[in-house]
Each structure stands twice: as structure tokens, then as C-alpha cells.
Symmetry: C2
Subunit: 469 residues, 2 copies
Amino acid sequence: MTTFVVVGGDAAGMSAASKAKRDDPELEVVVFEKGEWVSYGACGLPYYVKGEIQSLDELVSVTPEEFREERDIDLRTGHEVVSIDPDERTVTAENEGGEIVQPYDHLLIATGAAATVPPIEGTDLEGVYTLGSMTDGRDLREFVGRSRSEGTFAQPDSGPACRFLEDCTAPVGIVGGGYVGIEMAEALAENDFEVHLFQRGEHVLAPFGEATSETIAGHLRDRDVALYLESEVETVAGDDRVETVVTADEEVPVGMVLLGTGVRPRTALAEEAGVELGPTGAIATDEYRETSVPDVYAAGDCAEAEHVVTGEPAYVPLALTANRHGRAIGRTVAGEPTEGGPIAGTAAVKAFEMEAARTGLVGDEEASEAGFEPVTETIEARSRAGYYPEGGTVIVTLTADRPSGRLLGASLASEYGEGAVHRSHAVVAALYEGATIADLEGYDLAYAPPFNTTWDPVLTAAKVMGGSL
Amino acid sequence: MTTFVVVGGDAAGMSAASKAKRDDPELEVVVFEKGEWVSYGACGLPYYVKGEIQSLDELVSVTPEEFREERDIDLRTGHEVVSIDPDERTVTAENEGGEIVQPYDHLLIATGAAATVPPIEGTDLEGVYTLGSMTDGRDLREFVGRSRSEGTFAQPDSGPACRFLEDCTAPVGIVGGGYVGIEMAEALAENDFEVHLFQRGEHVLAPFGEATSETIAGHLRDRDVALYLESEVETVAGDDRVETVVTADEEVPVGMVLLGTGVRPRTALAEEAGVELGPTGAIATDEYRETSVPDVYAAGDCAEAEHVVTGEPAYVPLALTANRHGRAIGRTVAGEPTEGGPIAGTAAVKAFEMEAARTGLVGDEEASEAGFEPVTETIEARSRAGYYPEGGTVIVTLTADRPSGRLLGASLASEYGEGAVHRSHAVVAALYEGATIADLEGYDLAYAPPFNTTWDPVLTAAKVMGGSL
């Protein structure tokens, strides 16, 4: 019997396990997961903390029982893999009962990523959180619930954004203006916390480019989020419990701090087994997601992937890639070699009543670094026909390569529901096909007054860019 | 001086005139428009009739004065071109003051399309309308307003959908279940008319394929529209004023009838000048939109275009193509030969609280006729993450060519606002690039819980189709 062992039971791991078993029912599939949760939608955690989702169980797409009973996968939660021996083709896992040595024919390392903790003082204080796991989500939700019901850190001074308890401020600090920082700003502000968001660089959502970033920043301010840009946090301070966030210029009183400074791939287990890392620091793989060690695959938030525009390795840990690459590995292991496919670094975010997406290389800096000679143009357009009674504005930034006219990337922002994210789909497709700006401009995109102007904003952007090339 | 003469002052004509003048200010640009309106958004007429737009002027994107004064275009409204003499390179136009003979160097025929009137008895009765022009829109709006304020055809029998006048029914008949029929069903029902919609064939919105058609039909019924499918209207009857719609099986009392049975290209002027028509009955052109007569171009609703999937001439009279081809002709005339580009037959429609889009070849029948060996698959998927508090369903139909795996077309439907139309953008791009189903499945489309499931419905459809190929 052939055995496929998977380390890590989230998107990449469970996609691979499920697909391999479905395509080859004779295969023995063993999954080790050190925690209790598998196959969960971590992307939903901010909405759980916000209170829009009532139970962590709702984030689980397939339960451990279903994997075991319906999919016939030997799923072992509470088992931490502590070493891999590629020569013997075994992994060693520990659980409460002791140690197991499990042989494998194919191995997938899907150890994911960990929320980073910046190297500053005070991050071990009570009241300092990250949002990287279901447990983190539970802790944050408890914090929100406790604060709302008991007014844990109610203070006599009434701040402008404090609405949920009379005569109090409930200030919280968020360190980092990426997806997690922005989504948690919404989750906390909508629960009537006074949110202070600290961003080291000049821009929140920096990978979305300047126009989108500034649009979202303006909207955050409109929603009473206090934004501190170019404000590196030096320490978080307090006795036992966090009390202030300290930057070079400010000392802001807070009752809680969320660290949203990104993630790093969990690579220790792979490295110890002699698996090579790539230039991004994540695990390097070939197009089949096989690592430098034969029959050892890596996918999901611990691994690199090839960028569709640059052809170079990139580290963009997101759910769809984890799913897709896991699924490809499952097929490969089941006997049909399947490439995982490149990524475009596409991402989407909702921020209060706005939405944004980005894909490819956005802005001259990113494109120049990749060796292109870039042009970047930003346009604003109506989201629906000008005469249509509803609608808003879509801001589209396109980046292209001047000599070739090739489309390199895009960023879009609009009011939530006005379609920035779904409109970005056209650009993603164009990037995968190596399309030029002229190609994009020529697409016969759907039009009717309730959905766009005759030229969808994406086409208008291409038209304007065409004039700049 | 070089003179560019344009016949017809709507989308194609005014786009060409504006672009030519902008790119070559030395050019003399003369536009003849027989009516009073130019450059108007006919697509907005149903929303004007519905009452969501308050003035016809709002549908005008650029006024005659702006064309004349700001864009320096010699725009002559109220001038009907009655003949073209390609040997002499002149057109003859009539207006109230008499006849003008205007020489041209380049000529654009942009005469548009006329709403068809089916060859049945009674279409000349009072109370029978079409919706092809601004004047039609004004007439219909007046009818709605008059009926609402005066109860013009109030009857003692109270029907279930009659809400706007006490103790009355206000039944109206719509002949044809295409865009105009569906949009007008919404416009009239939302004004509390009892709407009876007659469709000759089995499906409303037939070009959208079966799944979308049936979804929309179900929604129309939910909104109390009485649907008569496979019901060819034999006559509309009445003394002076229309009183009934008669089919083989039914005689339905109505106070008004809207004919929404499509449009036919206005080609008489071109034909008389010796310009060749294509296989669709519209004006044939090459890739620069030049007709069989040198220096005579045709674009917009009177002309064919090449279909991006089949490579064959197609007649799909829609606004974006008219704009785009007009613009290309303007550039060509100004000295930079520019292809108009193919079309994908993309269309979008809102129907009450649903939306739908279609592109390419949808369904086995259309694809077989074009010489492919088609497979069609339909999936239903959540529009947002399953655990996200809002959201609905997106229905995606894909058609592909079995031997090559090539994507041929798609149709999508969802609740209004759940993104069927904007999501179709990805498919349009894929069609233009000749992508396969595997290519489509590999696109890194934007994902976050408020916008889709990890695999956007479009990707899920591609994944399912991949299993059928």
C-alpha cells in the first residue's frame, strides 16, 4: 500500500488529502495536525470577532469527523510532527500519548504561516493579541464581548468615537495596516471601540498601490479610525497589562493591542529535514510543488509560488493558492502529475463600506524592481451609468510595461458593492494570458446601466493608459 | 480640407466624429442626425419610463451645443440623409429648409437599428408602443404617468397585482422576452401595472441559455409577472385602442401593449448606395469597419462585427461596440488606421432583484451550430463565503469545446448586487485570449469572504467543467 502523509490540516493539507483519496481510493492518507481545528477559513476570523459570525464552527468547511468517516482519511488532530527523515522516509509525530513514527511514500509539508510578532518590547503583556489562529480568534472575541458587557477598561474621559459605554473611552491599538489590521479596525470600530492604527510606512495596504491606499485611508478616517502613518511602534508599555502604544512622536493610551504585522512561513521542520528554502525565505518548489527533497511536497502558506508576471518565486500566502496547490499535489500523488500553477499576487479586502482588490505588479516601484519599464495610470469612473439612480466611484490603477505595452498589474477600489473586487477578475485573466493594454481595452465586457458605464471602468483605465504608452 | 461626414448622431457616429476631430483638428467633421437627440443612452430608457430617471436630458452624455462649441463638430440635427453617391462622394440630406448636397472624403454610416414591429394585426392601434427611441421613451413615460394619475383604464375587477389604484386592474401586455421586454416588465410592474409577458419561444432571454433563462423566469413569476411561454401573439385587438392580446390559447385583456421583439439594422440608405450587406442582414465591413465601398465605413447597430469565438460575422447591436468601433473609425480617418476589434456577444441585464450576463457561445445548440463539439455545465455556488452573514447564489453556465478544452462562452445569474455581471468579466477576457477551461481554472481571482468563496463561482464552474472534459 502506498502512503501519503500530510503535515498540517488546513487548506493546502486537507485539499491534497481529499483529492488524493478521491482520485485513488487505494491510497492510505494520513494527516497530522497539531491543533484541534482542521480545514478552517482563517479569512473569516475578523468577521467572527466582529460578531457577524456566531460560532467558530461556522468557519470549518469540513469537520474532522467528515474527513475520517466520509472521506476515509486518517486524520490525527493533536499530533505535532517534530521531525522528518527523508532517508528513512518517515515522519515522527508527538501527541499526548507519546511518539509515533509514520512511514511515507509521498509527503506534503503544509505547515502554514505564523503571525509575526515585531521585535519590540512589551508584546508579551496581557492585552496584546495576534490574529493567526482559531484560538487567537476566540481570545479576541472574548475580549470584545467582555469589554462590551463589563466595560473592562472604562475610563471617565469620554472620547469622540466611544459609543458603546457611556462616559468611557475604549481605545485599542492596531499595529500594522495590512489586511488583518484593516479588517480588525472595522471589526473593533463597529463594536464601538476607538481604534488607533499604526503603520510603519507611508501607506496602509501598501501592496495595493498609492491611489487605493489613500482612498482606503481616507475612508478609515471618515469612520473615526485614528491613523498614524510613518509611525513605527517602538514599544507597547504597561504594568502586566498593556496601557500605551509608544512611537517616536506619540504615546497613545490603549486597553488592548492587536499586532497585524504580517506572517512568516513555518519552515523549521522542512529546513531540519534538509528541504531548501527559496529567495523569499519560504519553501522552494518546482511547478509540481515538489521540494528539493524527492517525494516531499510543500504548499500553502509555508511555500513559495511562481509569479505569473515575473516568472520569479514569490511569497503570497493566501487561501486560494493553498487550496489549488494542495489539490494539484493530491492529483499528482494519485498518479496524474498536475502543475500547481502560478500566482498573480491577487488579494481583496473589505474596509468598512469600501472594497479593494489588487493583482500583479502594482505601481512603478514594484514593476521596476521586476525589471520592467513601467507606466502607471489611475482613473476615477462611475460604477454605474451616470444617469442611473444608484452607484458610486471606482478607482482603477493600471501598471503596464512601456516598451511592450504589456499589462503588469492593477488595483481597484470602490464603495462596498460597487464591484471593484469582481471587476478585477478581468485584469487577472488578462495577466495570465500575457495581454497588452490594447488587448484589455478591446474586451467586450458586459454593460448595462445598472452595472457600469458603457465602457466599464476597467476599459476606461485601459483606454487612458493606451494614450500614455 | 478633408471632410469626414457622419450619418447618424448616436453612439457610433458621435464617437467617430469626436475622436476624428480630436486626433486631427484640421479635419472638417459634419454629422447629420435626422432627429433632435444625439449621443444618448438608449439603454437608460426603461429606467426613465420606470421613473428612476427624471428627465430625458439626463440620458444625453454630450449635448448638441457641446459638440458644436467645445468639440468644433458641424452637427446638423433635423437633417435626414436621403442618398449617398459614392461616385461623386456626396451625400444628400433633407431638412425643413430643403436639400443639401455635402461632399465627403470619408463617410460613416451609423444609421442604427429600428425596433421591429411583428407582422401581426393590430400593431397600429392606439396604446401599442415600441421602445426604440427617445420619443418612444417619452410616450411610454407619459402613458405611465397618465395611467397612474387618472386611472385611464381602471376597471372594477380587482386583480392581485393591482396596487396603484383602488378597485382596478391595470393590465399591460409585453410581446417578447428579450432585454427590452424584461426591463420594461420591471419598469411597469414597479409602477404597479399587472404585467403579462408573451414569449414566442420556450425561454425568455434565450441567448442567455437555459439555466439563466429559467432562473430569471422564476424570478419574474415571483414578482407577479404573468409569463406566457411558447405563446406566439397572433393579433392585438381592439376598437381604436388596444384591448386584448390574442394567442392560440389565450385572449388577455390589456390596456397597453409594448412590442419588444428586437431590432433590425437600418440598412436601406447603405443598400441604395451599393454597400454590401453581410450574411446577418446588417452592413458588412472589414476589420477597419470599412464597407464594400471605399472610404465608406459603417458601425454601430446597423453593422456586423466579427465574433471573437467563431471568427464569423455576427449581428449584436449593443452600445459598447458602437462606441468602440466609432472611436476606431475616428482614429483611422484621422490618419492612424485602427481595427475595430471583434465582439463576444456579451450582454447584461437587470430583472427586478436579479442580474445576469452572457458572453460568447452559450449552450450546446449555439456552439454546435458554430462547428464545435460542445459540453455545457451549470453550477450553483454561494456568492460570498458560506459563513459570511450576507450573500446569495451565483449560477454559472460554461460551454466548452470537448476536443480542445477551449472555453466558448458563459452565462451567469445572481441576485442583483451579488456580482454575476462583473464576475463575467473574467470569462470575457478568457474568450478574447482563446483560453481553455484549464486556463480559466488556474486564474488567481481575488478572494475574501465578503466577495466570494475561496474558489470564485467562475473557478468552481471551470473546475466542474474540467471534470467533464
